[in-house]
Structures are given as structure tokens and as C-alpha cells.
């Protein structure tokens, strides 16, 4: 077969997929503002995404903060700038590491679970059953997940900011010999509202992206258990890639000069 035809077909399929996904996301977003609303479903998702993700996000950011302090120390002792360690930790954690790593961990945990749950509902005709019971599946299944994703990831990242900074503090004080009040003072001085706010904006965008990807792949899964498995994998991979792309775009918006 003509290799150009192969490339053209693959590109067409890619564009179709992107268009389909964008329409799905836009439909989901528009349903967020139109009744009926399902508060019980939203509550369930808020707990599932927010509360049950706390341990994994907490562990991730704690060890990230600790490793960051160690790495920073081993890197900057050569130039004699050890006092910059609290600044490096807090800036890196609040601006980048907490939102991105929390986003990636939640993409693995929640994106997969959304795709698997909605995908199973699709292949077992439960989504068709919702429609026959006069219930819009977008409003009942997708909207609560989108709202919960966009609301809860910033909360997780805020907690992650604190725990990550605490991880750096533990290493700084108990391993590198910093005075605790000096470390905290340096951290406080380095803390900028724009850093925290940009991290929270990123988190909200990542949460929405994770939920859209999970719902989109689950909603459009086909072909039984294999299809649900593929949807789950695709949801996690595509959400992770989207997080990295959005991270660049939002960083550019906040910090480019």
C-alpha cells in the first residue's frame, strides 16, 4: 500500500479522534451549567476523587519534597548556596511538582477507575438503560466527575504543597542541619502568591482533563472486557500526556515575559 495513504489515513483518524474528544468535552462542560443536577452523584465523586486520593498524593509529595531537598543540597554545596534549599523546595513544590505529580497520580488512580466503571456500564448496556429511564447519561455520569475533578484536585494540591514543603523541612532540619526557624523563615520569604495560585489553576485544569479523558474513553468503549481494558489504558496515557501539555501552556501564561 502507498505509505502516504497510510500516513494520511492515520492523520485523519487522529483528527477525527481529537474532534470527537473536543465535542465530548464541550458537551460535558455545557451540561455542567444546565439542570437537572445530581448532588448525590457529585458527593460520591468528591469523596472518591478528593478524600480517597489523599494518601497517595500525600505520600508522593512528602517523598518528593524530601528528595528535592537532598538533591538540591548535593547540587548547590559546590557553589556555597545551601541557604537557597528552602527556596528551591517551596518554589518547585508549589509551582510544578505538587500539581504535576498529584495530577499524574490521580490520573492513574481516578482516570483508570472512571474509564473502567463507565466502560463497563457501556458494554453491559447500563448507559442505554439510563437513557430508557429518562436520565441523560452525560448529566448523571459525566458532569459530576468533571466538577469533582476540577474542584478536588486543587484541594489535593494545596495539601500536597504543605506536605511537600514539610518533607523538605524534615530533611533540611534533621539531615542537613538547618535551624528549624531559619528554614521556615526562608521558606515563608520565598513563598509567592502567584506560585501557589498558578499551581492551583494547573490542578483544576488537570482535574478536569483527567475526568474528561476517563469519561470519554469509558463512554466510547466497545467490545467487552478487552474494550474496557483498552479504554482504561488510553484514559491514563492520554490524561498523563494532556497534563504535561497543559502544564507547559499554563506555565507559559503565568510566567513568560
Amino acid at each position: 500500500m502507498n505509505p502516504l495513504a497510510h500516513i494520511g489515513r492515520a492523520f485523519s483518524v487522529f483528527l477525527y479522534g481529537v474532534g470527537h474528544f473536543v465535542i465530548f468535552g464541550a458537551r460535558g462542560l455545557s451540561h455542567c451549567f444546565r439542570p437537572p443536577f445530581y448532588p448525590a452523584q457529585l458527593g460520591r465523586q468528591l469523596i472518591d476523587i478528593g478524600y480517597y486520593s489523599l494518601p497517595v498524593v500525600g505520600m508522593t509529595t512528602l517523598f518528593t519534597g524530601m528528595v528535592l531537598a537532598l538533591q538540591a543540597y548535593s547540587g548547590i554545596t559546590k557553589v556555597g548556596a545551601e541557604t537557597a534549599i528552602p527556596t528551591i523546595v517551596i518554589v518547585a513544590v508549589t509551582r510544578e511538582l505538587a500539581p504535576v505529580l498529584a495530577g499524574l497520580m490521580v490520573a492513574g488512580r481516578i482516570g483508570a477507575s472512571m474509564a473502567a466503571e463507565i466502560g463497563t456500564m457501556r458494554v453491559t448496556e447500563q448507559i442505554d438503560a439510563l437513557t430508557t429511564l429518562s436520565t441523560n447519561a452525560m448529566k448523571y455520569l459525566v458532569v459530576p466527575r468533571l466538577i469533582a475533578g476540577a474542584l478536588m484536585l486543587p484541594c489535593l494540591v494545596l495539601v500536597g504543597d504543605i506536605i511537600g514543603t514539610f518533607g523538605g523541612f524534615l530533611i533540611g532540619v534533621y539531615k542537613l542541619g538547618f535551624n528549624p526557624s531559619t528554614y521556615l523563615g526562608n521558606s515563608w520569604d520565598a513563598l509567592e502568591a502567584v506560585g501557589v495560585i498558578s499551581g492551583l489553576v494547573k490542578a483544576s485544569a488537570f482535574g478536569f482533563a483527567i475526568a474528561v479523558m476517563g469519561c470519554y474513553h469509558g463512554y466510547n468503549s466497545r467490545g467487552g472486557a478487552q474494550g474496557v481494558g483498552a479504554a482504561t489504558t488510553n484514559a491514563v496515557v492520554s490524561a498523563s500526556i494532556l497534563i504535561l501539555i497543559l502544564n507547559y501552556i499554563i506555565t507559559e501564561l503565568f510566567f513568560s515575559r
Binding site: E117, T120, M121, T124, E125, Q126, D128, A129, T131, T132, L133, S134, T135, N136, Y140
Partner: protein
């Protein structure tokens, strides 16, 4: 092929399908299908696997959009309804899915009460009372209402699915392969329940099946689909003398005849 008999003479059909076409890529599943169902009538569409029975039902329910043709319910064309209009129409429908399609995340009574609470806005207590009465109507104890769908046997799942389908007392009930996957005795129990529930509600019923015992029991009229069209339709009492070789081959389950089984997809 013989012409199917004229339906619903002198009465406005509850459901009227006209010139329905539906294709998936190059495969034409429905090919100008016509069918009318009178109010209060129970019609069973029979046909082999892959002949378009499920597609036909999904086109009526609005789960699939037909490529061409019209679906009229109570004289109204339902093929181009908006989302909210479709939701309102759905309140007149009940549906028993082949695998029951119960919501895994809800206990049995909430599955049955789902349409009452979500679509009709009924209070939780009132919906639960009605759900338990519908479970009793299909021969299930109130304790079953507290179980989860994963804890039910195949026959119990079908009964719960039936209770859910009749909970909102719909005008039209659809049954997708109601006895598939059940043993013959449980299949007959489900058939009896379908007949009882449809009669008590005075509902119009459309079923699709390839189980002839089920079709004979629940149908007032049988229609056979083949090649994307209804090739024969008539009262259930006429099915054995249809004079249609396709119908004869199908109801007698013979490998030899005008219907050639497709071993490979083309």
C-alpha cells in the same frame, strides 16, 4: 418472499415504522423496514442472530439514529427529537434488557425505583414502597430489595429488570431477548410474568427473540425480520401455516432452507 399481513387495520398504530434504513459502514442492517403495532398489542419480532432485531429496537428507543425512514409513536415522528423531548418520550417507555442492565452501584430496590425518583421526582420513601410492590409482582421477597445486583442469579436479575421496566407503569414496554441465558423453566416463568405484567398495565409490547417458545407465549402477533425487512407478520396462531419458507425454516430450526447461515463476515 410472501408479503406481510396488513396490521392494525382501522386503528391508529401506537408505533409505526416506515422505510427504516440503518447501515454500519458497508453493512446494511435495516433495509426499508416497515412495521405497525396497535395500542395494547404484543408483537414479537423473530429472526436469526445479526438480522437487525436489536438495531430495530434501538432505533425506536432513540439509542440509534436511523439513516432514513421514520419512527412514529402515538402519531408523532420521534426520529428528530431534541434531548429534553426524547427524555419526555422515554417516560412512556419501559425496557427489559437482554442482560437486565442493572446498575451495579445501586441496591436492587434503587434499581427498580430509579425511574420513579429520577424521572418522576418521587420521594425516596414512596419510590421504595412502589419498588417493593413491583418486586412482589415479579415474585421477589422484599429482602431482595436490599441485595446488590452482583448477588443475584440470572433469573432474579431478569425479574428485577422486569420490575424496573414496569415500575413507572409505561404505555410501551420493550423486551430484548427476555429468556436468553435462562433454563427452560425459568424462561417460562419470565414469559408468564411478561404476559401478566403487560396485561395488567394494558401496555403495548414489542419483544425481540429467537426463542420460539417465548414468542408463542407472549405474542399476539409475530413478525419475522430477514434481510433488514419484515418478510412476514401475522397472528401467532398463523405462524405454523405461514406459507413462507423463511418462516418455516426458522420456526422449525432447520439448517436447510432459503436462509443461508453466514459463516464469515463479508
Amino acid at each position: 418472499m410472501s408479503q406481510h399481513q396488513p396490521p392494525t387495520a382501522g386503528r391508529r398504530p401506537k408505533i409505526a415504522l416506515s422505510g427504516l434504513h440503518k447501515a454500519f459502514g458497508p453493512k446494511h442492517v435495516l433495509n426499508g423496514l416497515d412495521l405497525e403495532i396497535a395500542e395494547g398489542e404484543s408483537v414479537v419480532v423473530i429472526g436469526g442472530s445479526g438480522t437487525g432485531k436489536s438495531v430495530l429496537m434501538k432505533c425506536i428507543l432513540g439509542l440509534l439514529d436511523p439513516d432514513r425512514g421514520t419512527v412514529h409513536v402515538d402519531g408523532r415522528d420521534t426520529t428528530r427529537l431534541s434531548g429534553s423531548e426524547r427524555d419526555r418520550l422515554m417516560r412512556h417507555f419501559g425496557m427489559l434488557f437482554q442482560g437486565a442492565a442493572l446498575f451495579d452501584s445501586l441496591p436492587v430496590w434503587q434499581n427498580v425505583a430509579f425511574g420513579l425518583m429520577q424521572a418522576k421526582g418521587m420521594s425516596r420513601g414512596e419510590a421504595k414502597r412502589i419498588a417493593l410492590s413491583k418486586l412482589a409482582a415479579v415474585g421477589l421477597e422484599p429482602a431482595v430489595g436490599e441485595l446488590w445486583p452482583a448477588e443475584l442469579s440470572g433469573g432474579m436479575r431478569k425479574r428485577v429488570g422486569l420490575a424496573r421496566a414496569i415500575a413507572t407503569e409505561p404505555d410501551i414496554i420493550f423486551f430484548d431477548e427476555p429468556t436468553t441465558g435462562l433454563d427452560p423453566i425459568m424462561g417460562d416463568v419470565i414469559n408468564d410474568l411478561i404476559v401478566k405484567c403487560v396485561r395488567e398495565l394494558g401496555a403495548t409490547a414489542l419483544s425481540i427473540t429467537h426463542d420460539m417458545a417465548s414468542a408463542r407465549k407472549i405474542a399476539d402477533r409475530i413478525a419475522m425480520i430477514y434481510g433488514g425487512r419484515i418478510i412476514w407478520a401475522g397472528p401467532v396462531s398463523d405462524i405454523d401455516r405461514s406459507g413462507n419458507p423463511y418462516v418455516d425454516q426458522f420456526i422449525n430450526g432447520r439448517a436447510e432452507g432459503p436462509i443461508k447461515m453466514q459463516i464469515r463476515e463479508e
